[in-house]
Symmetry: C2
Subunit: 221 residues, 2 copies
C-alpha cells in the first residue's frame, strides 16, 4: 500500500514509523513521500534522512483559502501515488477535498484517550482537568475533529508532578510505540470496520491479556 | 470519618468497600449507614449482612419533587452523623440540597475514564463508539454530571468480543479494586485539592511506576 505522511513539526512520529519500516516491521507499506504545511519544519530533514521525497505546501501562502490549500495537498498526494494518508503530527483539520478523495484511508494520532480531549492544547487540558490516566489514540479520520473510528490506544499515568510538557513527553513515548504498529496493521489489511468500530483480523485476546489493567495512582501508593 | 453509602441496586461496590473495612484496610472510616432510593434493592441485604443500618427513601414516592426527595435524604444523612457520602451505584444526580450540605464531601464511582462518557448507559456508549480502552473513575461530586475532581482511575481493555454486558463486568472488577482504596485515601486525609486537581499526600511516583502503560490491542496482537 502506497503511503504518504503529512507533518507540521519535527516529524518524530513519522520518524518512528520510518524506523519501523527500515527494521522490516511494516512490510505492507511503501512510503512514497511527505507533505509538510510549514516551511523549514524538522520533518523535512527527517524525511530526507530516510530518502523520502517531500513537498512543502505552506498553509500561510493560501491566505486562509482552505479549499485551495487542500487542492494543492491533494495534487501532491496524487503525485506520490498515495493510497493511504498518515497524519503524523499534522496540525490542521482536513476537509472534504482530501477526505472525499481518501474515504477511510486517512489515519491520525492524537495525544489523548479519545473521545476525551479532542482538538488542540491537549496536555494543558489534561493536566488542568486533573485526569489520572491520559494516553494516545490512533484513529481513522472522519469529517469531525478527532472523532473517527479508533484503531489502537495507549494509556499512561499522569504524575503528581506533571505539567503539560512532562505529560506530553510521556504520551509521545507511547505514540512512538503504537503508531508504527497501527500503520502495519492497516497496510497489511488486518483492520476492518463494523460501522464505526474497528476490528483486527486474527486477534483473539486471551484471558491473560484481558486482565491487563492500568490503575493510577497505584493502589500501593 | 463518619461515612454513609448511597446505593440504588445490588450494592456490589458498597460490598467491596465494607469487605475492605472488615479486613482493616480503611481504618479512617466509620460506616454509619446506607441510604437507598429503591425499595427492595439488593444493597439493603448487603448492608444488613454487614450490620449496617439502612434507610430507604423511595424516589418514586416523591412524584418528581426532587427537592423534597433530597430533603429526606439529607435528613437521613444527618441521622447517621454523616461526614462523607459515598455514592456506590447510586443512579440519581444529586442537587444543591445534599451537595450544598456536603461540599467536597461526596464521592462517586463512574464506569468510564472520565471525562469520556459521563451519564447513563455508559457501556453501550463505549462499545458503540469503539474505544479500545475503557475504565472506571472515582471522583468527588460537583454540581455537574460526573464532572468533579478525579481521585483515582483504572483503565481496562475493550475486547473484540465485548458487548455492553461483558465490558460492564470487566469494568466492575476494577471498580471493586479501586473504590475501597480511594475511600481509604479520602478518609485518612490523604487527598487534597489544588483547584480541581486532586493530590495524594505521601505519594511520590518512582520512575518504574511512571513507565506503567496499557496498550490495546496489544502490540503483539
Amino acid at each position: 500500500m502506497k503511503v504518504a505522511c503529512m507533518c507540521s513539526g519535527r516529524g518524530s512520529n513519522m520518524k518512528s514509523i520510518l524506523e519501523a519500516k527500515a527494521a522490516g516491521r511494516i512490510p505492507g507499506a511503501e512510503f512514497r513521500g511527505l507533505i509538510c504545511d510549514e516551511e523549514g519544519a524538522g520533518a523535512l530533514e527527517t524525511a530526507a534522512a530516510f530518502g523520502l521525497p517531500s513537498v512543502t505546501v505552506p498553509f500561510r501562502d493560501f491566505k486562509g483559502d482552505r479549499p485551495a490549500f487542500e487542492g494543492r495537498v491533494l495534487e501532491a498526494l496524487r503525485g506520490f501515488g498515495t493510497e493511504l494518508v498518515v497524519l503524523a503530527g499534522f496540525q490542521r483539520v482536513l476537509g472534504k477535498t482530501v477526505l472525499g478523495a481518501y474515504p477511510g484511508k486517512v489515519m491520525n494520532i492524537h495525544p489523548a484517550l479519545l473521545p476525551s480531549f479532542p482538538g488542540h492544547q491537549v496536555w494543558a487540558k489534561e493536566t488542568g482537568y486533573g485526569v489520572k490516566i491520559a494516553g494516545a489514540t490512533v484513529h481513522f479520520v472522519d469529517e469531525g475533529v478527532d472523532s473517527g473510528p479508533i484503531i489502537l490506544q495507549g494509556a499512561v499515568p499522569v504524575l503528581e508532578t506533571d505539567g503539560p510538557d512532562e505529560l506530553s513527553a510521556r504520551i509521545l513515548a507511547v505514540e512512538h510505540r503504537i503508531f508504527p504498529v497501527a500503520v502495519d496493521w492497516v497496510t497489511s489489511g488486518r483492520v476492518t470496520l463494523e460501522g464505526r468500530v474497528s476490528r483486527l483480523k486474527g486477534f483473539g485476546p486471551s484471558e491473560a491479556q484481558a486482565e491487563a489493567v492500568l490503575i493510577w495512582p497505584p493502589l500501593t501508593a
